[in-house]
């Protein structure tokens, strides 16, 4: 019983920490990975709360696909948040 309580509150702390990190972090790639961590903890929560269907969906869509479309967007746009607008770039501006 005690172990469950500690484990669950640990999960809650990781969740909030990952969310704050995702918002504060200037380098967008790490922010996106933090979003993936949020989805991971969420998927664990869903599994604990007896919702296996939703845990699988959150894992498949939340962790894998949402994170990857964010990474693709970063590839096509700027990677750092506080970056001065680049002018000489050709129209696509891809820097992968």
């Amino acid at each position: 019983m005690v172990f469950n309580a500690i484990f669950l509150s640990l999960l809650a702390i990781i969740l909030i920490a990952a969310a704050i990190y995702a918002v504060v972090q200037k380098d967008l790639l790490y922010a996106v990975i933090a979003t993936g961590v949020i989805s991971l903890v969420l998927s664990i929560y869903f599994f604990i709360m007896q919702a296996p269907d939703v845990a699988l969906t959150e894992a498949a869509i939340g962790i894998a696909l949402t994170t990857i479309i964010f990474v693709i967007t970063i590839r096509n746009t700027s990677r750092r948040e506080d970056e001065i607008p680049v002018t000489k770039e050709p129209d696509r501006g891809d820097k992968n």
């Binding site: 269907d53 699988l56 969906t57 696909l65 990857i68």
Partner: protein
């Protein structure tokens, strides 16, 4: 200054949410007595096994009781793919061709991808075929298959899924879903009604129309998500 206002606003919103949600005490059953079936959840838990013989009640709700939601849901994904195509549409100048990644990735990823890709496909197909028995279903299976294709996109520079096949699979699966609905309407019942006989609980062919619809949703979601990834991933390089 702006941050202060935002934090104040968030404090108010937070306080209201905390206040309301802690009235809804956690873990307490709000289903009411199961026999009396006042709430919708209780009705589904009691009647799914006899009336639909579908083991996974969530799948029964998603596909049969609230099948109209899933039809809307599949349209949302279909529109997201179409909207993406129209927003990122760029005419191809001459001498350009589509490429996913600038250069081939390492040997390790290539061989690994070649090995795992079929396994991911089989897992995805397994998940959406057994949607009505085990946890999982059309959306989950389709997303897993899309991650499989993603792996191949990343591993090989010019690995292409033919756009033609994707469009065909996507449209046919959607049409199958709607025709199953119309079939229910024609055969006297109502739209999306379960017309097929429901077999024995917990074996593969049970639950009448439910597995057929969820397999169609699985194919459609797989094709759509792969299409979305391909639209986002490829860009035109002068080669």
């Amino acid at each position: 200054m702006k941050k202060a206002i935002v934090i104040l606003l968030l404090a108010v919103v937070g306080w209201v949410l905390v206040d309301t949600f802690f009235q809804v005490n956690f873990g307490e059953s709000r289903l009411g007595e199961l026999e009396q079936q006042k709430t919708v959840g209780a009705f589904y838990l009691n009647n799914t096994v006899e009336k639909l013989t579908v083991a996974n009640v969530v799948t029964a709700i998603v596909v049969n009781y609230r099948g109209f939601d899933t039809l809307g849901e599949v349209t949302v994904l279909f529109l997201a793919a179409a909207g993406l195509g129209s927003i990122l549409y760029r005419r191809k100048e001459e001498g350009e061709h589509d490429v996913m990644v600038l250069n081939n990735s390492s040997q390790l990823l290539q061989t690994g991808a070649r090995l795992i890709f079929p396994a991911i496909l089989v897992l995805g197909v397994y998940v959406f075929i057994h949607g009505h028995l085990t946890p999982g279903g059309g959306f989950q299976g389709g997303a897993i298959i899309a991650t499989g294709f993603l792996l191949m996109f990343m591993a090989y520079k010019d690995y292409h899924v033919s756009h033609n096949v994707l469009t065909w699979v996507e449209s046919l699966a959607g049409v199958l879903f709607v025709t199953v609905g119309i079939w229910g309407l024609i055969s006297g019942g109502s739209f999306l009604e379960n017309v097929l006989g429901t077999g024995v609980l917990n074996d593969l062919v049970s639950g009448g129309v439910v597995p057929i619809i969820y397999i169609a949703v699985g194919f459609k979601v797989a094709a759509e998500l792969t299409g979305v990834l391909e639209t986002l991933l490829n860009f035109k390089t002068k080669k």
